[in-house]
Each structure stands twice: as C-alpha cells, then as structure tokens.
C-alpha cells in the first residue's frame, strides 16, 4: 500500500487541472441532466463456451484482477424422483457429497487441507439440482481440483457424517413451527405445490436414509451428462481445459437428461387459508397463476408486476399500503420466473393483527384497479426505462457473466432463443400500454386469489367493524392445522 501516500497529492492535481467548481449552474431537476451514451452489448457464448471430450460443457470468463479462480459444477438432478420413504435423500446426498469424505480420504482430512489453502470447497442444492463449488488461489488450483474431483467422483458418505447430518436435520425440524416466517414459507408451499412433486421430509424418512441410498442417488445423477462447469477468475480456457480433461478421463455415464427439477403447482380453491400463530403481526401472502417465461405475454406481465408491487418503492402496493397508510414495512409482489413451466404471481406483506383485513382489502383494491386498466403511460414508461437502463448492471462481474451464460445453456434458451439478451431491450421498448392492460385483465383476477395468512387466528377472524370487513369476504376460510414438526402429521386445530 505504499502507493497510497501519493494518491491525495495526485487527486489534488487532478482537481486543479479541471474547471473550477461551481463555475456552471447545476441543472434544476435531475430530468434536465444529459447523460453520456452507454452502448452495451450483452455477453455471448462465443469465446467462452467449450465442450469436453465426454460432452461436458464448460464456460470460462477471465478476470485477472486478483489471483483467485472459481470453478462451479452444476449438477442436473431431479428431487421429485426421490423414493417416498426417503424424502430428504436428495438434499442429503448433495450436502454430504462435500462433507462426507471421499473413498480415499477422511472428511476431516479433506476439510483441513482445503482450509489450510484458504480455499473453499462446498456442495449443496441449487436450482438445477445440486452443485459443487470450488474457489482457490490460482497457484493452488490443481490441488483444489484434485479434491473437488475426489468428492465429485468418489464421495465417501462416511457414517459418522451421515449421523451428524441426521441429527442436524432433526434439530432443524423441531423448529419448523417456531418462526412465523418459516411457518408461512412451508405452509404456502404445502398448499400450492402438487403433493406428488413436493413432500416434506420427516424424522422417519430422514432416519431411513442410509449410505447405500446416498451412493445410489449419487451414481444416478452425478454423471458427466448432468454436469455443466462454470469457471471464472484468474484463469484462461487454455489453462483450465486440459486440467479438467485429465480429471474427467474415463468418466462417462449412461442415464438420460430430464427437463424440470422443480415441483409443480396445482389449482387451489380460492379463499383464505389461515394458519394459527399467536403473534402480534400477521404474515399475508396471496397467489394467482402466473405465466411460463416463454409465453409471448411474459414481458407485458413482467412490467405489470413491476407496477403492481415488484418495482419497489414506486409500485402501487407499496405506495398504498406502506407509504400512504403506514400499515406495513415490507410489501411486494413477484411474477415468478421459472426456468421450466408456469410460475405464480404472488403478493405479500406483514401488518399488525388488527389491520390484517383492512390491508388485504387495499391489496384487492389495487389489483382490481389494474385489472380495470387503471395504469398510467408515465408509470409504464418508467418501468420500461428501468428494465432497459439497468440491463448492463445484470452483468456486473466475471461471476455474473459466467453464471448467466450457464443459465442460458441449462435452461435450453441458448438453443431456443439465442438472441434473448441481445433483443431484450428492443422487445421491452415495444411493449405498449394496451399490451399491459390486456395481460392485466387476463392475469389479475381477484376472485381467484388464494390467501395464506399466518398469525393470531382468533383475532384475525374477528370482523373489522371500522372498515366493514369480514375475513369471509375474501373467500371461504379454511383453518390449516399446524403439523407435528417431526412427523408432519396434522395436529388438532384448537
């Protein structure tokens, strides 16, 4: 840091060399500012995409500012195919692949090696199934890759670590009903997902997982045809590829690729699903069917959601429920972008028990207004401008460039729509107010709202006399029982 002592002097010289401050008047309003043109073209796979001899695709994005290399292995795997008696196996396999040692080395030995290098080597679940992530100093990359491949190809799943993992799961299960936020998350998922595609692990299913099951699940999924590699940092493809090739030698799999690893949604009877948790603030979340991201209405719907509640402080729900009425701190909505299949459109807030129904009525009111087409051209223009202007910030580092390329590969969009990123800004620009109004009328159907409310059930069910509201006014009310945290069997309601 010796160079630093010179810097104040350098900056002084820079200032002296420029126009004196305050010589020109400042623009009166930020809309009067004139900005330099920013021409930005999104990254393309050319020059970054490579294919190994066994078919594994590798993305490499160089960044030599610091001597660090990241190598991530994304592993396509389908949790939905877990045997019913072994729910938790998928999570367990990916978590223990990194923590359970290898066939050659004890887990603790590997962990100490990695820590001594100041490196990181982790495994776990990710949106495509699972992942193994390595980060090390450039000079230690070979050592890091050796250990990474040991875990990837020949994991140990040693018994003591399996037992430790089971103990951790059991401890985590015990806290399932404790935090209202967690309770809300698990109950809305239980309600909205197809039961055949999403199941909660229980003490019994976790207890039934043994080393053999882990090895079988590993054998089934952690195969070259399911792996995509994303590398970035202080390394070139020329340096990296032979290193990967050498370690993948003789590694070929047999299984077939599948498409979606996500649980599917189901049609839920509209109404209010009430979960009792006696605290002084209700957590409210409501759902409508969303869209497939390849749907031609996707962009108008995306912009609609920005105007409704996705656009932060300037969105309708925030302006009304938070800014104007002071009824909530966190308010928002999201049009869920799923890689495969249709997602949900949801909105959520938290408000004190007494104002639950009133805040819900404000949400309905805003949804109805938009459904009727009460959307201003100015607000739409702002939402479009944000999306277009912010575009370059999506690719703010070698890591985000590399992972966005991998995403396009894994989702299949690189093949189905290779110009997606290049055309996106022009497509956004072309969305008209009419397009948004049309999709608003189609998607925003207040009578189809499914509400999940977690809070003090007895108080929430009381009519709100001041605003002349009842909970039944939002649809049939269903009391959702809490579940035994370990067995997930329903508990009595009262």
């Amino acid at each position: 840091m010796k160079a630093l002592t010179l810097l104040p002097l350098a900056s002084l010289l820079l200032v002296l060399g420029t126009v004196p401050a305050q010589a020109q008047p400042l623009p009166a309003h930020p809309d009067d500012l004139v900005f330099p043109e920013l021409s930005y073209e999104p990254p393309v796979p050319e020059g970054h995409r490579f294919v190994m001899k066994n078919g594994v695709v590798v993305y490499v994005v160089e960044d030599h500012r610091v001597p660090l290399v990241d190598v991530n292995f994304t592993i396509h795997a389908d949790a939905k195919q877990e045997p019913e008696a072994l729910v938790g196996l998928h999570t367990g396999m990916f978590e223990l692949m990194g923590r359970g040692g290898s066939q050659a080395h004890d887990a603790a030995w590997i962990e100490e090696e990695v820590a001594f290098l100041g490196a990181r080597l982790d495994t776990g679940m990710d949106s495509y199934g699972g992942a193994l992530a390595l980060q090390s100093l450039t000079k230690d990359l070979d050592r890091g890759l050796d250990l990474a491949f040991e875990l990837l190809r020949t994991p140990g799943f040693q018994e003591d670590r399996l037992q430790q993992w089971k103990d951790e799961r059991l401890a985590a299960f015990k806290e399932r009903n404790d935090d209202p936020e967690r309770l809300e998350r698990q109950e809305w998922r239980r309600l909205m997902y197809q039961p055949a595609t999403w199941r909660a692990a229980t003490a019994a299913t976790v207890a039934a997982i043994d080393r053999k099951a882990l090895l079988d699940w590993h054998q089934r999924w952690v195969q070259p045809e399911h792996i995509t590699v994303t590398a970035y940092g202080d390394i070139s493809a020329r340096e990296l590829l032979p290193r990967l090739e050498r370690r993948m030698k003789g590694w070929k799999g047999q299984s077939q690729r599948f498409t979606s690893p996500d649980p599917e949604y189901r049609d839920v009877q509209p109404g209010v699903y009430l979960v009792n948790k006696p605290v002084n603030q209700s957590r409210v979340r409501c759902f409508l069917p969303g869209l497939d991201r390849d749907d031609e209405r996707w962009l108008p719907a995306y912009l609609l959601n920005e105007l409704l509640g996705g656009g932060g402080m300037s969105s309708a729900l925030l302006n009304r429920i938070r800014t104007k009425e002071g009824l909530a701190y966190s308010v928002g909505s999201q049009l869920e972008e799923r890689t495969f299949g249709q997602g949900l459109l949801w909105a959520a807030f938290q408000t004190k028990t007494e104002s639950t129904q009133f805040a819900m009525s404000l949400l309905v009111d805003e949804v109805e207004k938009m459904a009727r087409g009460e959307i201003s051209q100015e607000n739409l223009d702002n939402a479009k401008a944000q999306l277009i202007q912010a575009f370059p910030t999506w690719f703010s580092s070698a890591g985000t460039i590399a992972s966005s390329l991998t995403e396009e590969e894994l989702s299949g969009r690189m093949k189905s729509n290779p110009r997606h990123y290049r055309d996106l800004r022009a497509k956004v620009q072309a969305v008209s107010l009419e397009d948004v109004r049309r999709v608003a009328a189609e998607l925003l159907r207040p009578e189809r709202l499914v509400w999940v409310v977690v809070g003090d059930a007895t108080a929430i069910m009381q009519p709100d006399a001041e605003h002349q509201l009842t909970l039944e006014g939002f649809g049939a009310v269903t009391r959702v029982p809490l579940r035994d945290p370990l067995s997930q069997e329903p508990l009595p309601l009262d």
Partner: protein
C-alpha cells in the same frame, strides 16, 4: 493431523511460506479526496463492468442518541427518502406551510399528552395510545392533523426519489442504520454518475421530511416484523440492554417503543443538522468511471454544502463488569447457550487476536465443530463471533444443544473448550490455517467493486477506512502467545453474560415424553409418528385395545421398553381426553 512439534511444525511453516510466495498483497486501490467543507470521498476506479456503486455513510448511529429519543437515527434514515425542496412536491410553499401546521398540531398533542402520561404511570391507563383515544381533545387534534395530511398528499409526488433512481436503471438501492453508522447506497449504470451526485447532494442539502408520522407507523411495523413477531426478538433486546451497562449500545437500534411513538419531525430536523454536516459524512464510489470525473463532480455537487461544527463526541466508556450476568429466556427455539464477553472494539490493539480466537472456534474445521459437535456430541451447531463495533467489542460463543443434552451440560462443555485456549498454546499449523484464510479473504473483498464498496462503508463508518488493512496485518502477526494472553484476559466469568434459551412448552411443540430423546434415531422417529397419529385418532375401542396390548407387552430390550411405556402413557392420556369430551367421534 498429528502435529508433533518437529515434523508437523516444519511442514506447516513450509506450507505457509509456499502460500505467501509470489503474492505481494495490496489492499483496496482507493483514492482519497477531501472537500474544503470536510466531506471525505473514497474512490475505487474499476472498469470490469459498465456499472458503479455510489454510497455515503453518515458517522452517526443509534449510539449517538439520547434517552427519550431512541430510534431517531433510524427514523431519520427513513425520512431521507421522503424528498427535498425539489423532489417530491408539486408546490413547495404550500408543502412547507402544511408541514408547519401539522407540526404545530403535533406539538399541541404532545403537550396535552403530558397529563395522560401521568395517568399511565399511575396505572390508570394501559398505554398512552389508549389514553389518547379516550381523550376528546386528543381525538380532535388527531382528526385535524389527518385532514392536513390528506391535503398535503394532494400536493405530493410520493416516492419520487426512488422513482427517479429506478427509471434511470438502478439495480438496487437501500440504506441501513447500525449502532455506529447510517449508510445509503445505490448501484447504477456507468453513465448515471452525475445523477447519483445530483440526487444525493440534493437530499443532503435540502431534505423535506414529509409523511413523518405515517413513516413512524411503518417503523413500528418494521419493529413487529424484526423483533416482536420472531421467536427470540424481544428477549434479545432485553439481553442486549443487560449486557451493556453504560454504553449507549444498550438500547435497540430501532428504539424503545415508547420513545419511537413520541418522536417528532422537529427532533429529526435538529438531529439532521447536528449529524449530517459534510465533515461527518464519507462518500464512497466504486466502479466504472474516471476518478478525475468523480472528484470533479464531488466538488461541484457536494462542495455546495456548508461546513458545520463537529458533532459531540461519544465520551461514555463501558465500565468493567464485576460479576457474571445470567438470563434465561423461555422461547420457541431449541435449547441454546450463548456466552457473551466484553472486549475491545474496532481499533483495539488486540482486535486481530480476537478475530483469530473466533476463527479458531468457528467454521467447518473449528474447535467447536470438531470437539463439541463431532466428538463430544453435546451440540448440534456451534459458532463464535467477534463483534467489532466502533467503540466497544463483544465476543460471542453460542451452541445449540444436541438431542437429550441439557443447557447445563452444554455450558460446561463450552467452558471446557474455552479453557483449552487459555491453558494450552495453539499449534502453529492451526494458527497458520486461520491466517491463510484471512489472507485469501483480502482478495475476495476485491472480487467485485460492490463488495469493496461495502467494506469501505463499514470501515469508514467505524471511523477509519484504512483500519481494514491494518486489521489484516494484525491478523498475520498474531502469535500463539498472543492467543493465550488475550484468551486469558477475555474468557473470565465476571466478564461475561450467559444466556440460556429454553423451549417454551406449546401446542405446536409439546413437551417431550421422558426418555424419548435417548432412543435410537429410527426408533425415535417411529415413536414420534405414532404419537402424532394418536392425537388425531378418536376410536375409543381401538385405543382401549391398543392400551391393553401395550400394557401386557414384553419388551426384548430397554429401548423397546421405553418406547412401549411412552406409547402406553400417550394412549392412556388420549383415552382420558376423549372420555372427557364425552364421545367416540
């Protein structure tokens, strides 16, 4: 890993030398520039991507508040998004006149409330809010106030500050308040550098605190969300205020509820004048621009701010704690023990040693994981953390009890582990492992300009942005003897607070039947499943049959006997419950 003093040590030193070889490490490449009015700028030019992060940190946190006004720093942070003399209004003069009238009414309301507060203290009214609702004059003032608010809304452009940021391509923008600082940050496309300067200097020079009182309600919802409607929130608030005796760290950042309810716009304006002068603010920019341009814009926009007197210094020093403090909270989490020790803060000479101590205990290869979780099986999860705050520090060690282990046993196991740090020198290789991790971490900080900017926010906010680099150097210089010395000074009973979290019995997590937790995992799981089903089962005849079977069953081993006993007790209880209800359906 048998680290014999000779072979092991030599290998460790060799490895350490290899690690350091070829890497002359530099800190963040920062250009510092100070304006004539005292405002400091820290600038990192980085052309990796066409984007930048702009931030400014006001050197004021909740620890600068005074009793009765707690929560004011945080509420002021919210108010800084409410617009200025230019942003957020259709007619400024009308706006200001309405605000003045609102403030007058609120003053009258507060005057009126003094007598009501006495009623609360006398135990005659449950709360000030309730007393006001029952007082016709208060109701009248409140109604009149709400009319003015409605009138003002007609004249406002709500959330215009955020709107402008967003339509110009903001990726994210937010602010936070801590005990030591208040920071505001945005990520924007590279060509919007001047916009950042325009908006940020405008709100620092000309803030108008519209919707103050509605925002106070928003903050109360934030308090419910973060503190009151969480398993341990209000207890943690109590624990914190017991830990700090004199230090203003002892009140919550969000403020005591009774204080927040009485905060006024005038107080916020006065607080702003005291603490938001240019000499008390550091601007931070990192990303794709020319340093020369950034400095020029800083001079142009922030050079307009008039210098203000330095705000008062925090003089309070935390006195030495004289005896162990203990707290037991009945909450909805698994049984957990937390130990919290007093120690030095941000610039303390031993901060590097304290950080190393926390690392020795924490993480995948830390001692708590190895000894308590994996070998002793007394904990299911354990960590240590050094809270390096501006004026003081705290050293925390926490563990969640393993199945069947009580908090007393867990506390003894933690004590034994901590004692080893005092009694035995840390092996060289173990110490080197931690130094290596920190060495690589300094590169991690530089992986993205956004991350680097956050590092600067924290270190500048604690009073010295260069400290982060000094801290890294101190970590690399730590010796085994330092560790033993500091552990000995730190880990004394009279220097700590012990918190026990014990699980509150409740419907969703009924108390455990005796012996259940000592069964093997699979047996336990099966038993739990049967217990849960039994609660739903209402067929009296079948239950009675099961009761008979369990009563006469001959167990083949002790575990099976325990399981039978637990199930028998449950069947008997369920039968009694159903009979009390009077029916079999």
């Amino acid at each position: 890993m048998n680290a014999t003093p000779t072979g092991g040590l030599r290998r460790a030193l060799l490895a350490a030398m290899l690690l350091m070889a070829g890497a002359a490490q530099a800190g963040l490449p920062v250009t510092e520039h100070v304006l004539a009015n005292g405002m400091r700028f820290l600038i990192i030019e980085d052309h990796t991507a066409p984007t930048f992060m702009g931030a400014w940190v006001a050197h004021v946190g909740s620890s600068n508040e005074t009793p009765g006004q707690t929560g004011l720093t945080h509420l002021l942070e919210h108010m800084m998004f409410k617009g200025t003399r230019v942003i957020g209004t259709k007619d400024l003069d009308k706006d200001l006149a309405l605000l003045a009238r609102q403030e007058e009414l609120m003053r009258a309301l507060r005057e009126r409330s003094r007598g009501l507060l006495l009623e609360v203290r006398q135990g005659l009214a449950p709360s000030l809010a309730e007393a006001r609702k029952a007082d016709p004059e208060c109701v009248r003032l409140e109604d009149e106030f709400q009319k003015l608010v409605a009138e003002q809304r007609e004249n406002m452009i709500p959330n215009e500050f955020d709107q402008i940021m967003q339509k110009n391509g903001e990726l994210f923008g937010n602010a936070f308040t801590s005990q030591d600082m208040t920071a505001y940050f945005n990520v924007l496309p590279a060509n919007k550098l001047e916009l950042w300067f325009w908006l940020e200097s405008d709100r620092l020079i000309n803030p108008v605190m519209r919707e103050f009182y509605a925002e106070r309600d928003v903050v109360y919802e934030e308090r419910r969300m973060r503190t009151e409607a969480t398993p341990t929130g209000i207890h943690e608030e109590a624990v914190n205020s017991l830990f700090w005796q004199a230090s203003p760290y002892h009140w919550p950042i969000i403020g005591w509820p009774s204080d927040v309810a009485e905060l006024s716009m005038s107080q916020a304006e006065a607080y702003y004048h005291t603490w938001y002068g240019p000499g008390n603010i550091t601007g931070i920019l990192a990303g794709d621009f020319k340093t020369r341009d950034a400095i020029q814009l800083a001079e142009r926009y922030f050079g307009r701010m008039e210098a203000r007197p330095a705000p008062p210094a925090l003089v309070t020093l935390e006195p030495r704690q004289l005896g162990e403090v203990r707290y037991t909270g009945e909450v909805e989490i698994n049984p957990t023990v937390n130990l919290r020790y007093h120690c030095g803060g941000f610039k303390h000479k031993d901060s590097g040693v304290l950080e190393v101590l926390a690392s020795l205990l924490s993480g995948d290869t830390g001692r708590l994981q190895r000894h308590l979780v994996q070998e002793g099986k007394t904990a299911v999860r354990a960590w240590a953390y050094y809270e390096r705050m501006k004026h003081e520090g705290a050293f925390q060690v926490e563990a969640e009890a393993a199945q069947g282990v009580d908090n007393a046993t867990l506390e003894s196991a933690l004590d034994a582990e901590l004692r080893r740090l005092v009694d035995q020198p840390v092996p060289e290789r173990e110490l080197q492992k931690i130094k290596n991790t920190y060495f690589v971490d300094t590169y991690r900080e530089q992986q993205s300009p956004i991350r680097a900017a956050f590092e600067l926010i924290n270190s500048a906010g604690c009073g010295d942005w260069r400290e982060q680099e000094a801290f890294s150097r101190r970590i690399q210089a730590v010796t085994a003897e330092d560790v033993r010395r500091v552990a000995g000074e730190l880990l004394r009973k009279e220097n700590r607070m012990v918190t026990w979290w014990v699980r509150k019995a409740g419907a969703a997590s009924a108390a455990e039947p005796a012996g259940l937790s000592s069964l093997p995992t699979d047996m336990q799981a099966a038993t739990r499943q049967m217990l849960a089903r039994m609660k739903q089962f209402s067929d009296v005849a079948a239950l009675a049959g099961l009761q008979g079977q369990l009563g006469s069953a001959n167990a083949t081993d002790a575990n099976e006997a325990t399981m039978n006993r637990i199930l028998l007790e449950a069947v008997t209880a369920r039968l009694a419950e159903l009979q009390a209800k009077g029916g079999s359906k």
